[in-house]
């Protein structure tokens, strides 16, 4: 078990159950941790470093999904093995607990498993998202090195092809079976679009049938090739209001753990869940540059994989330290300048205005997420 000091006390990383637990200073002392220099000085709004980093080790992928958010191609750029190891060393030095290895299709890199093993060596848990198209029993066996592995399944049967532009469902399902045969921490990632929304139940039923441990629902992002189709794929106002109750219903109906990604936070908070419960269980919106950061194939540090400025290179120790200490203002700065209706929203400190990338695609990075039901109502009122 690992622990990292923070201004409020610290974060303890448990392996069983897998969890990051935030504790106060008194609990840190009780656990035998010496006082940290981070405990002096004023309270901070940000962590000393992200707890998880998305390491985009390549933009290579031969699948050619029509809405790929990183615009991956068969010949896209990739980090070398040595660069990936150097990036992991830097992240470990800053106390990052988890990395998500992705791209691109990370499994197309012949050194992926060396990267994952290196992550383990330096104390970081490597996790993986894959389309699973070329997975074999031998590759599945090697995937034991990862923590959680999610296979992208945006629909069952013909819905898969409609979402991704090619018929890969049978191969994705086979990958899930092969992975589940060797480990328990296997789940599904499902991008929720206007067209896939009605059939989400079929995806969750598949996860239950295959005895997977989670389904993560991801909002369609206006990024990469997805930018061109976003207007047609973005959820309708009714769907935006319905996604949280639907996820709750599917959780109970299929007894399946369902997660919604950060960009769905405004749609959840619109239903006014208990603020104290949400805070305790880390229900949050945009955590770019705080809980989460990304490293691109060229080493550029960004607050989010879908957008935001380059904060410096992960290969530069000083630049990385500056970024974690006081950078990422494009993300961390939203709270101070949030306009209405975010400013008066009781959930602002958790939601942080929803997805910046969606706001930018709608015209202005610093405006509230236009998909938020509260924002829609506010704008309708202002326009009336």
């Amino acid at each position: 078990m690992k622990v990292r000091a923070e201004w409020f006390g610290g974060i303890v990383s448990l392996e069983r159950p897998r969890a990051l637990v935030s504790v106060n200073r008194a609990m840190m002392r009780l656990l035998g941790i010496a006082a940290s220099s981070r405990w002096s000085g004023p309270s901070r709004d940000a962590l000393s470093a992200p707890t998880e980093v998305h390491l985009v080790i390549s933009r290579q992928c031969s699948a050619g999904c029509k809405s790929c958010y990183v615009d991956a191609t068969p010949n896209g750029p990739a980090m070398s093995l040595e660069q990936a190891k150097a990036a992991l060393d830097r992240l470990a030095a800053h106390g990052v607990f988890h990395v998500a290895l992705g791209g691109g299709e990370a499994l197309e890199l012949d050194y992926l498993f060396e990267v994952a093993e290196h992550a383990r060596r330096v104390g970081i848990l490597p996790n993986l998202t894959t389309a699973g198209l070329g997975l074999t029993p031998a590759i599945a066996e090697r995937c034991k090195v990862f923590g959680q592995i999610n296979v992208s399944v945006d629909g069952v049967g013909a819905d898969y092809e409609q979402a991704r532009g090619f018929n890969g469902f049978a191969r994705a399902e086979r990958a899930l079976r092969l992975l589940r045969a060797v480990k328990k921490e296997v789940g599904i990632n499902c991008v929720v679009s206007r067209r896939s929304y009605p059939n989400l139940g079929r995806v969750v039923a598949l996860a239950r049938k295959l005895r997977l441990n989670e389904v993560e629902l991801l909002r369609f992002k206006p990024s990469g090739r997805g930018l061109a189709t976003w207007a047609d794929e973005d959820l309708t106002p009714e769907q935006a209001r319905g996604i949280f109750p639907k996820a709750q219903w599917l959780t109970l109906r299929h007894l399946m753990r369902i997660k919604l990604d950060c960009s769905f936070a405004p749609m959840v908070f619109w239903h006014r869940p208990s603020l104290a419960v949400a805070r305790f269980f880390g229900v949050v919106g945009c955590e770019g540059g705080n809980l989460l950061a990304s490293v691109m194939p060229d080493g550029a540090l960004t607050g989010c994989s879908f957008g935001g400025p380059n904060e410096g290179s992960i290969f530069d120790a000083d630049a990385t330290r500056r970024a974690f200490d006081g950078g990422f203002s494009a993300f961390r700065g939203y709270l101070a300048r949030a306009p209405e209706p975010c400013r008066s929203c009781e959930y602002l400190s958790l939601c942080k205005g929803g997805c910046r990338v969606v706001a930018k695609a709608a015209g202005d990075w610093w405006q509230p997420d236009p998909g938020c039901p509260r924002v829609r109502a506010h704008r309708a009122e202002a326009g009336a």
Binding site: R18, A49, S263, A276, S294
Partner: protein, 74 residues
């Protein structure tokens, strides 16, 4: 995941995020826990407190950059 300064407070769990995230976007909402509300907070607090107290002395500091109390620079 944060709280006011509480140097003199009783030992406390401030928050928890279960599971890990393999995705490019951050985990926002684990629907399960919102279903059970404050009862889930109570159960999680009790279980995690016991767990952590059992781990006393077995915790290993992670990361050294920017925190001189834990050792070397990156």
């Amino acid at each position: 995941m944060s709280s006011k300064n509480d140097d003199d407070a009783a030992p406390r769990i401030l928050g928890v995020r279960f599971g890990v995230n393999p995705n490019s976007s951050s985990l926002g909402v684990d629907v399960t826990y919102l279903l059970f509300g404050s009862g889930a907070v109570m159960v999680a607090t009790l279980m995690l407190s016991a767990w952590l107290r059992g781990a006393r002395g077995k915790l290993e500091p992670h990361g050294s950059a920017g925190d001189p109390s834990t050792g070397k620079a990156p």
